[in-house]
């Protein structure tokens, strides 16, 4: 019946398109509207990318990885090594850290950036296949601990690997040209990654692949008994997630200029946990949840860091505890339960 579909005001599809147009305009204008917050806004897009990627396995498939930060750190190192190798011998470059000054031409820098970001993504995607082949045999909390172990071990290994600078880390050249232009470039690089991942997932979750991911989450044993290629789906999903986290790590490497293994690259207790909290706050297993969660979390984090200095970790810890204990469904989960009509979900007779 067509009469029942007509709701008050604009149809839901038109409202959705209007919402997307406003968000795109906001995304394009943000670094110019708030020029003082360019680096902060770039960091917000980084959170959106890693949260969306984490939700692919954590929310949609029920595999809570605490080791996704491995791809972030590995992406940083891969990008750095590629960029340096285009111009210098990597071992010589890193051993001269602090002493020798190495100049990069603009062409070398941008070629390194392009190859580094793509290369980091591809390398991390392959890593996810290899690591996943072993760790996806683990279920529930064992998977979480197993992947966390991978990230911690990688950090320790890299910090003892002199070829890539050991515990001191690596320095990359500064963005050639105007500093403010550089900030805008990094903002748009992160934003492009975030939007690309969002669009990809928006499509992916409507396919059979997306349904298979949810089947693995709801009852993996049943999915196996029905003949689903469960391992194949898990590996492919994690590999896509790893590509984007690795690429985001690569962009971070260029943005930060200098990074070291334990606190910046393989920062298991910071970014590795933040991405999980973003998703929990926004709503696990929903398309918009990680985005909403990343925005809320990032704002909360920056406000406490600025106005509650000294207590910021306590505030953050309290937020995590409250979210995990009292608000597991997250913002989107709450809205979907309370306002299903906002999402075009109709049940029973209304659906006829």
């Amino acid at each position: 019946m067509s009469g029942a579909r007509k709701s008050a005001g604009m149809p839901i599809e038109a409202r959705r398109i209007a919402l997307y147009l406003v968000l795109i305009a906001l995304m394009l204008a943000a670094p110019f509207l708030f020029p003082g917050f360019r680096t902060q806004l770039a960091a917000l897009w980084l959170m959106i990318v890693v949260a969306l990627a984490w939700d692919m396995t954590g929310g949609q498939m029920g595999y809570n990885s605490l080791g996704n930060v491995f791809f972030y750190g590995t992406g940083m190192y891969v990008a750095a090594v590629i960029t340096i190798a285009l111009a210098y011998d990597v071992g010589e470059y890193t051993s001269a850290a602090g002493g020798g000054i190495h100049a990069f031409t603009d062409a070398q820098y941008f070629a390194g950036m392009a190859l580094g970001i793509i290369g980091a993504g591809v390398f991390c995607a392959v890593c996810a296949l290899l690591i996943g082949y072993i760790t996806f045999g683990l279920r529930g909390p064992y998977f979480a601990i197993g992947t966390l172990g991978v990230a911690i071990a990688a950090g320790e290994l890299v910090s003892n690997w002199e070829w890539v600078g050991g515990g001191q880390g690596i320095s990359l050249p500064v963005y050639p040209g105007d500093l403010e232009t550089g900030k805008v470039v990094f903002y748009f690089l992160f934003a492009a990654a975030g939007i690309a991942l969002f669009v990809l997932l928006r499509w992916l979750y409507t396919t059979r692949f997306g349904a298979a991911m949810n089947a693995v989450r709801d009852d993996e044993e049943k999915a196996e008994a029905m003949g689903l290629h469960t391992l194949r789906y898990k590996l492919a999903a994690w590999s896509i997630a790893a590509f984007f986290v690795g690429a985001a790590g690569a962009i971070s490497a260029f943005q930060l200029i200098h990074f070291e293994p334990l606190e910046t690259a393989y920062q298991t207790i910071n970014l590795g946990i933040f991405m999980v909290v973003c998703v929990l706050l926004g709503g696990k297993g929903t398309l918009w949840g990680p985005v909403v969660g990343a925005v809320l979390f990032h704002v909360f984090k920056e406000v406490t860091w600025n106005y509650l200095l000294g207590w910021q970790w306590v505030a953050l810890g309290a937020l995590i505890v409250v979210t995990v204990v009292y608000f597991q469904e997250g913002v989107m989960g709450y809205l979907m339960r309370r306002k299903p009509e906002w999402f075009g979900i109709r049940v029973g007779r209304e659906a006829e």
């Binding site: 992916l204 409507t206 396919t207 059979r208 692949f209 349904a211 298979a212 949810n214 089947a215 989450r217 709801d218 009852d219 044993e221 049943k222 999915a223 196996e224 008994a225 029905m226 003949g227 689903l228 290629h229 469960t230 194949r232 789906y233 492919a236 297993g285 109709r346 049940v347 029973g348 659906a351």
Partner: protein
């Protein structure tokens, strides 16, 4: 009729407990075969062995002439031999239609095909099968919010969606309202007759299994007690003793 599942000398033990001891049975293609026995007699263990849920200690299990006792669960399912669970298992957070659509036969699906959406024909088939089990009205509800009996019907419809050649049903009528049992029995028979699916059924409801099956196997303490046509098994002294506890 030819044999679709051939079980020869299958033994399975858990520690010191022998759950299945040297069992041999044949499931005829196109028929309905029953498996009965008191609680703890090893029926579900045998089902688990057939579908590859755990390795067997000795013996051979063949499906359509192919040895399957060393294959993993997913491969056996993709060959067209499915099972439903005694403790019903459905995808709780997805609605009934989604449950049906993810149950399409995966033996044919390549990775590239999984990146497509479901076709109109597949949606129509899903709707038709939900109608077949009487869940069409509930199709947009979360599967987890259905009653236990309805979940059982959904699980049965999902199995049909998968187009299996053989279907192992573990107590299909347990937990179902007695007035609905007749409808379910009728649907099981129709699935067998109209879709040509061979059924192998564990059942405690004697009236149901005697009515449906062509051949019945009876287990007790992991060993074969009796087998034959329903009437023969029903009148077998040892079967009656096993159920009433004469041992």
């Amino acid at each position: 009729m030819s044999a679709i599942i051939e079980i020869r000398g299958v033994t399975k033990s858990f520690g010191g407990v022998v759950a299945n001891k040297n069992l041999s049975m044949t499931v005829e293609a196109g028929g309905i075969t029953g498996l009965i026995g008191p609680n703890g007699s090893g029926k579900t263990t045998l089902f688990n062995s057939i579908v590859g849920y755990h390795p067997i200690d000795a013996g051979s299990i063949k499906f359509e002439g192919r040895e399957i006792s060393k294959l993993p669960v997913q491969k056996i399912a993709r060959l067209g031999l499915l099972r439903t669970f005694q403790q019903t298992r459905i995808y709780g957070a997805m609605n009934c239609v989604e449950n049906m659509l993810i149950s399409l036969p995966h033996r044919k699906m390549r990775l590239a095909q999984s990146f497509a959406r479901n076709s109109a024909a597949e949606r129509k088939r899903a709707a038709g099968l939900l109608e077949f089990v009487g869940l069409y009205e509930k199709r947009l509800l979360r599967a987890g919010s259905l009653s236990f009996g309805q979940q059982k019907l959904l699980e049965f419809a999902m199995a049909l969606m998968n187009e299996p050649t053989g279907l192992l049903l573990d107590e299909p009528t347990a937990g179902i309202n007695p007035t609905l049992i007749n409808g379910l029995v009728d649907r099981l028979k129709r699935a067998n007759r109209e879709f040509g699916i061979t059924l192998f059924i564990i059942e405690h409801n004697m009236r149901v299994i005697m009515d449906m099956a062509d051949t019945i196997y009876c287990l007790a303490h992991g060993e074969m007690l009796a087998h034959g046509a329903p009437r023969e098994v029903q009148n077998d002294r040892r079967v009656i003793d096993a159920y009433l506890g004469a041992h």
